[in-house]
């Protein structure tokens, strides 16, 4: 335990997320809160995806399926069953983790491109299934009565409430990422990433480890999904299972540095800010997508280890504080 208390990287990680996350609470600015909501949401998604992608080395294009399913379960419980958002989010998380554990047990047998393609297939299959499933609204989705926000002290408070919950979730997911990375279990995952067959021979129970990693990566996206759609007031299949968001998550991880704790945090924040900037910049407004593409290409070719990875490689001293 002392090991953790003394680790500057842990403190830095916590501090960064906390300082950034508490900022809107201090300024009481709703705009900053909305900006931060998106950033924290992406930090959580990227950070949890990194457990599978960065640590275990499995390219998961279907990460967003956890977000979408969690959103659906949570939203259904809140809007249709009148649950409070916290138990709803927890129930969603539980359900999705179970789903991930079963799914992981099946598809993690695949490697490389086959796994990546299968995850695309899973996302699309789930999305198109929900579109056809009328109990959860089918293509129309579900909507929540505005009066529901009264339970949280009115709509304004509900938004702040959702934000604070998200901040806790983000912190938890970054800490989870840290503890996995610095644990024996995490070391096993890294070994799997580097060479799965060698890892098996070294004594790592790879099938179990991979499945656990997969399930761990599903905990927080499911909660984030519930919070996001709670705040949105409605849910539709198209918004819940947007493949593009998975890819964006991967981009964020690459940008920040895959396989590191801080990488997804830095990557998600940078990507989100950058997109925001490009979107509103009169110069790049029309070309923002292409510009983001060029930037991504340059990063992959010239800084493949991402910002944090680059710092760690360039300045070995930094390694101690930058996990």
């Amino acid at each position: 335990m002392m090991r953790y208390v003394r680790d500057p990287a842990l403190w830095l990680t916590t501090l960064v997320v906390l300082v950034a996350g508490v900022w809107p609470l201090i300024t009481r600015s709703a705009t900053t809160r909305e900006d931060m909501f998106l950033i924290l949401m992406f930090v959580t998604l990227a950070s949890s995806l990194n457990i599978v992608l960065g640590y275990t080395g499995y390219v998961n294009f279907g990460h967003i399926v956890f977000f979408g399913l969690g959103g659906y379960i949570g939203f259904y419980l809140i809007a249709e069953k009148g649950w409070h958002v916290i138990p709803a989010a927890l129930a969603a998380s539980l359900g999705v983790v179970l789903f991930a554990a079963i799914l992981g047990g099946i598809i993690l047998r695949l490697r490389g491109a086959y796994f990546a393609l299968a995850t695309i297939g899973v996302n699309e299959a789930v999305r198109s299934f929900i579109v056809n499933w009328d109990a959860v609204g089918g293509a129309v989705g579900m909507e929540m009565n505005f009066s529901r926000y009264q339970d949280y002290g009115g709509p304004m408070n509900a938004l702040w409430f959702a934000y604070i919950l998200l901040l806790i979730v983000t912190l938890a997911s970054v800490l989870l990422s840290y503890f996995v990375r610095t644990s024996k279990f995490g070391l096993g995952l890294l070994a799997i990433r580097e060479d799965e067959d060698a890892a098996l021979v070294l004594g790592i129970p790879a099938p179990k480890a991979k499945t656990i990693a997969f399930a761990l990566s599903a905990i927080f996206p499911a909660i984030v999904g519930t919070l996001f759609f709670f705040k949105n007031g409605n849910i539709e299949p198209g918004d819940a299972f947007r493949l593009h968001m998975s890819v964006e998550g991967i981009v964020m991880i690459m940008l920040g540095g895959y396989g590191t704790v801080m990488g997804p945090v830095v990557g998600a924040a940078t990507y989100e800010r950058l997109r925001g900037f490009l979107l509103t910049s009169p110069l790049f407004k029309n070309l923002q997508l292409a510009f983001a593409g060029v930037l991504l290409l340059l990063i992959i070719i010239f800084v493949p280890s991402g910002v944090v990875g680059w710092l760690r490689n360039r300045f070995p001293k930094v390694r101690r504080i930058l996990a």
Partner: protein, 284 residues
């Protein structure tokens, strides 16, 4: 019964075009182990190539395909040099992302130039009735062109020196290099071929359906499904996979609500990867 027959024919015809699109994806994967995420954007580019030649120069769409074909090979080789070659020896993820970046660039520039307004190439080659089946001229021609291109590719791969080199590189790059095959040039050319196939199939699709710069995504997903059906990395299998997909799409509505088509398709897709990753016909 009539419905079944009509849907069967419709499915088969469109299946050839789907198959052609998937061939590009599977060829690139087979030769260099790269999943090309710019595939959809390239299909859309092919659509606009034919469209612009048609509306701008009044060129017959089928003639336009020839120009798109040449442009496709050149563009593909350029893309290889920029986005694939520097990353070929890196981790799997890097080429996935670089091709995705290319897709962002194409769609970004495309949206600026063409907006996302749907376009339509207005050609009609009439139709003919064979019993319960009505064959639409454009579809028959599209299927024929797809067969022609696929046959051409097959002959090229098995009868020419370059084609054999491509197969050699696909088999074992190092060994090919040892026997004096310039593997880099072959890889670049293969990417060119893959791009060409994507763009040509895009051009064909443009003669059938309205499209926009964002349309490629649908066909990219279909191509993934087809590649897996036919066996990833196997161009001949892709054509077959295309036919199977066409049949599935044709027949499902006969038996259940049409909305379930994608559910069945993608479930099948995942199941096949799991049970038979080498494709329906592939060796185990």
């Amino acid at each position: 019964m009539d419905v079944l027959l009509a849907s069967l024919v419709d499915g088969l015809l469109i299946g050839f075009v789907y198959g052609l699109a998937a061939m590009g994806l599977t060829l690139i994967f087979g030769v260099m182990d790269v999943v090309n995420l710019s595939h959809g954007a390239l299909i859309a580019l092919g659509m606009f190539g034919v469209y612009l030649l048609f509306t701008g120069l009044g060129l017959n769409p089928y003639l336009g395909l020839l120009i798109v074909l040449v442009l496709g090979i050149i563009l593909g080789m350029i893309l290889y040099a920029i986005a694939i070659h520097p990353l070929l020896d890196g981790p799997h993820l890097s080429t996935l992302l670089s091709t995705f970046a290319v897709s962002m660039i194409i769609i970004g520039v495309g949206t600026m130039l063409f907006t996302s307004t749907p376009r339509n190439i207005d050609i009609n080659l009439g139709s003919m009735v064979l019993g319960p089946v009505r064959l639409q001229g454009t579809r028959v021609v599209a299927a024929l062109v797809a067969i022609l291109v696929a046959t051409g590719l097959y002959i090229f791969m098995y009868r020419t020196h370059v084609g054999k080199s491509i197969r050699a590189v696909a088999n074992n790059r190092d060994a090919a290099e040892l026997v004096g095959i310039p593997s880099v040039r072959i890889l670049a050319f293969s990417f060119g071929l893959g791009t060409m196939l994507a763009m040509v199939s895009g051009g064909l699709i443009a003669t059938l359906f309205p499209f926009s710069i964002l349309s490629g995504g649908t066909y990219e997903l279909k191509s993934f499904v087809i590649c897996v059906l036919g066996g990833l990395g196997n161009p001949t299998g892709a054509l077959l996979g295309g036919l199977i997909l066409g049949l599935i799409e044709g027949l499902i509505p006969v038996f259940m609500p049409v909305g379930w088509t994608p559910v069945i398709e993608f479930t099948l897709f995942v199941l096949i990867i799991l049970i038979r990753p080498s494709g329906i016909l592939g060796a185990r």
